[in-house]
Amino acid sequence: MSHVYEVSHFLAGLMLVCSFALLYQDRLLAVLRIFAAQAIILSLAVSWEAWTQGRPHLFITAALALVLKGIVIPIILQRFILQLGIHRDIEKVVGVVLTMLIGLGLAAMSQMLIIGATTGAPAQAREGLAIALAIILIGLLMMITRRNAFTQIIGFMSIENGLILAATGARGMPLVVEISVAFSVLIALFVFAVFVFRIRERFDTVDVEALERVRGDQP
């Protein structure tokens, strides 16, 4: 097994482990740190791709991922969390055990799907795609099973991590698209944060279920 494949497989696998840790972790600051770690590992993986495959523009992607999602966004979110004073536990909609088992099932299913659909593609690409799809699905699962608005944001952004991994594994995205995606995520983040502040002002909680009661969806 060539060491090129091994290193990229190792880094992608670590990202998958971070996704599972995000599913399970119930303390906000720890969730933030795991997300930052996932972004840093993503930048390492993308840099490895850039170096071994001779695509220097991927270095910019890696730098963007590192700076924006590994450093800037976590710092901003941490400021918000500390300002709002919410360091408490998060309640989940579905139990931890069931969520983890569903996550395992999603990982197995995405693997079977990609392996079946991509015969003949290079090994590194297939493996990257399979793990990336798993990360995307688990990010979505995280958004479904969480009640706190912040962790839903983190789930959304881990989906984007998976997308970038998938893109680098395939042909790589053009730089323009990459930058615009990154900036749109940043703007989405700001919009989310403002909303969260307003929700907190109005209802004294960031628990999304509280909104449903107000809206009249629940008795």
Binding site: G95, V97, L98, A108, Q111, M112, I115, G116
Partner: protein
């Protein structure tokens, strides 16, 4: 060795003896009192020797009579599979007969038990040698009816009546499913002899339907989730030696039926069939042991545990189907060997455990573990036999339960060689489920032995218990000795199973008895080996050495004193852990989701002298969703249809008119 005709003659005599015995006992009970069980014992031993000779000599012989259905006749055949299962069945019958002779629970019940016991034994032997669909189903129904009669032997108990009712319904559904299975296999040509069924080629759709029907029919008799519901009701309600037969032996006859249909008659296995069998086996293994952990009725716990072991057997069968479908014959032989070995083992130790629980019931009058305790002091011999049964069923080396689990795990560990990715992900999952259920089973039997036999007596009855008589003890020790022997010499059993493997799959596990030191090496390339005899010797020698060294060089003094209990000993035996309290951690981790377990504590207000109460509520979701709700819907639908009873004459005429028009339309469209 012996020639085939002698073997057939011996078997026929044995079965005939059992049937005659049963008829005589039914008609002239006063004169036959006390000699039914010895006759059953000798008949079982005769059949046992016949089967052993047939298995070891590789005999495969059939005979047919022109009686029965006009165009079919009755065919009988003894081949390697029948001989092996006959061995299993007759060992169980012999032990139960010996036990029954020593210890028939309630003497006033024996006129209701003895005739049906003999008939039950005969019916089970008949199922194994039947070679055509009619004979098979006739013997199967005879088996169901006689065991039903045995379940309802104590007809005054409401529990027995309810159990018998559910059993009758499930048995009827099962037989109907088997009827469909045989009908589907025989096809429009209608050749019902097994030989002609083997020659018929089936389309994949029909084969799939036949498999499902076989799973429902044979599976319900064996105890596969979700058609297991009659098992934990019926097995405890029957007298103990009959429970031993039903749980230990009749379930194996059902497994025989499944193997005969799916491996022998159905032809080439498919991947889908193996996946279904694997999933059902895994679900049964896990659910069975979880149910068992929640019980505190000793016999009901053992009955639920049978569901787990049948699940393990079906996991082995599913693996064999998967390997066979991919053409990996030697691995299929390994998986099938694991399943058949577990069939043998389970009949031994489940029979032993049920006989032991019968002994406890006889001595204390109690089935509820919460009222036992300290029985190891009052019933020392039974305790030793029961302990051997518990160690064997928890799959601990060097006894036999471990060997079949080890073989199953070896087959699972070879699953990465399967070409399909879906199976390669499914089999390790089932393997993890199997490991989980094995660990839960060990926990369950620590609970059983610890709460019933160890500790201090929790009730008057437990304090007054006495040892049971010699024949019962002999039966239990015979089964324990067999457990020990097949654990120490597993190679002998594996080699004895080889003819059955060759019959069904066409390959066999390499010869084990010729390996050095009697090791077991099922797959030569992977070098994984196990040696039960050496391991046992190793363990005994180490323990003896340690004991000897310490007693010689250090101290051997012993002093009896009250229990330390951290300085706060409580004289009341009710402060001990009960069965429910032992299961509480596991209940909290697993049963909160699986059974919606809810514990409620009712505390009296401060100052009141009332006792507090803790109650646990469990919901059996399978029973509710698959049986109670459909039953409710059927009753509701029947209630609505009841309106059809009260129509006017004009409305009846309208009904007949509509029926006629619909028939004419159908004929017009499809002609």
């Amino acid at each position: 060795m012996a020639d085939p005709e002698t073997v057939l003659a011996m078997l026929a005599t044995a079965i005939a003896t059992l049937l005659t015995c049963s008829l005589l006992a039914a008609a002239f009970h006063r004169f036959t009192l006390g000699f039914v069980y010895p006759m059953c014992l000798s008949a079982a031993l005769a059949a046992l020797s016949a089967d052993l000779i047939a298995l070891l000599s590789g005999i495969d012989v059939g005979v047919s009579f022109p009686i029965g259905l006009p165009t079919i006749g009755l065919h009988f055949r003894v081949d390697a599979l029948s001989a092996f299962f006959g061995l299993v069945v007759n060992i169980g019958i012999a032990a139960a007969a010996l036990y029954g002779f020593g210890l028939d629970q309630k003497r006033e019940l024996s006129p209701r038990v003895e005739p049906f016991f003999a008939a039950f034994a005969a019916a089970m032997n008949l199922v194994l040698v039947a070679d055509d669909a009619f004979g098979f189903l006739f013997a199967w129904e005879l088996m169901s009816v006689t065991s039903w009669a045995l379940v309802i032997a104590d007809h005054r108990s409401a529990e027995a009546r309810h159990a018998a009712h559910v059993y009758l319904v499930m048995a009827a559904i099962g037989t109907m499913a088997l009827l469909f299975a045989f009908g589907g296999m025989a096809g429009p040509a209608g050749g019902y002899a097994f030989a002609s069924i083997r020659a018929t080629h089936l389309s994949p759709l029909i084969a799939g339907l036949v498999l499902v029907a076989a799973l429902v029919g044979a599976g319900s008799k064996a105890g596969i989730v979700p058609v297991h519901v009659w098992l934990p009701l019926a097995h405890p309600a029957a007298p103990s030696h009959v429970s031993a037969l039903m749980s230990g032996v009749m379930t194996k006859v059902a497994v025989y039926g499944f193997i005969r249909i799916v491996f022998d008659l159905l032809g080439a296995p498919t991947l889908w069939s193996s996946m279904i069998v694997l999933v059902l086996g895994g679900a049964s293994a896990l659910m069975g042991v979880l149910y068992a952990l929640m019980q505190h009725d000793l016999k009901r716990l053992l009955a639920y545990h049978t569901v787990e072991n049948i699940g393990i057997i079906f996991i082995g069968l599913g693996l064999a189907l998967a390997f066979d479908a991919d053409g990996m014959r030697s691995l299929a032989a390994l998986a099938l060997t694991a399943a058949l070995f577990h069939v043998f083992n389970h009949s031994l130790f489940k029979g032993l455990l049920f006989l032991g629980s019968g002994a406890v019931l006889h001595a204390t009058g109690e089935r509820d573990m919460e009222k036992m305790g300290g029985l190891i002091h009052r019933m020392p011999m039974t305790a030793v036999a029961f302990l051997i049964g518990c160690v064997a069923i928890s799959a601990l080396p060097p006894l036999n339960g471990f060997v079949s689990e080890w073989l199953t795990f070896q087959a699972i560990l070879k699953s990465p060689e399967l070409p399909q990715l879906g199976l390669r992900v499914l089999v390790p999952t089932i393997g993890a489920v199997l490991a989980l259920s094995a660990a839960l089973a060990a926990a369950c039997f620590v609970k059983v032995f610890g709460v019933s036999f160890l500790g201090r007596a929790r009730s008057e009855a437990a304090m007054m218990a006495h040892e049971v008589g010699r024949p019962a003890l002999a039966a239990m020790f015979a089964l324990s000795a067999l457990c020990l022997a097949s654990g120490l010499l597993p190679g002998a059993v594996i080699d004895a199973l080889a003819p059955a493997n060759r019959l069904l799959i066409g390959a066999r596990v390499p010869v084990q008895l010729s390996l050095p030191w009697l090791s077991v090496v099922p797959i030569p390339e992977s070098h994984s080996s196990y040696n039960g005899l050496l391991l046992a010797m190793f363990i005994v020698m180490s323990a003896a050495l340690a004991g000897f060294v310490i007693h010689r060089l250090a101290s051997r003094g012993l002093r009896r004193a009250p229990a330390w209990d951290c300085g706060f000993p409580d004289p009341s035996p009710e402060t001990q852990y009960t069965a429910s309290s032992f299961a509480q951690p596991i209940r909290r981790v697993f049963a909160t989701s699986v059974f919606s377990a809810r514990e409620t504590v009712e505390m009296p207000p401060p100052g009141s002298l009332e006792t507090a109460r803790m109650s646990v509520r469990l919901t059996d979701h399978i029973w509710q969703a698959l049986y109670v709700q459909p039953a409710g819907m059927v009753v509701a639908a029947a209630g609505r249809l009841n309106a059809l009873q009260f129509l006017t004459i004009r409305r009846y005429l309208i009904l007949m008119f509509i029926a006629l028009i619909v028939l004419m339309l159908i004929t017009a469209i499809f002609e």
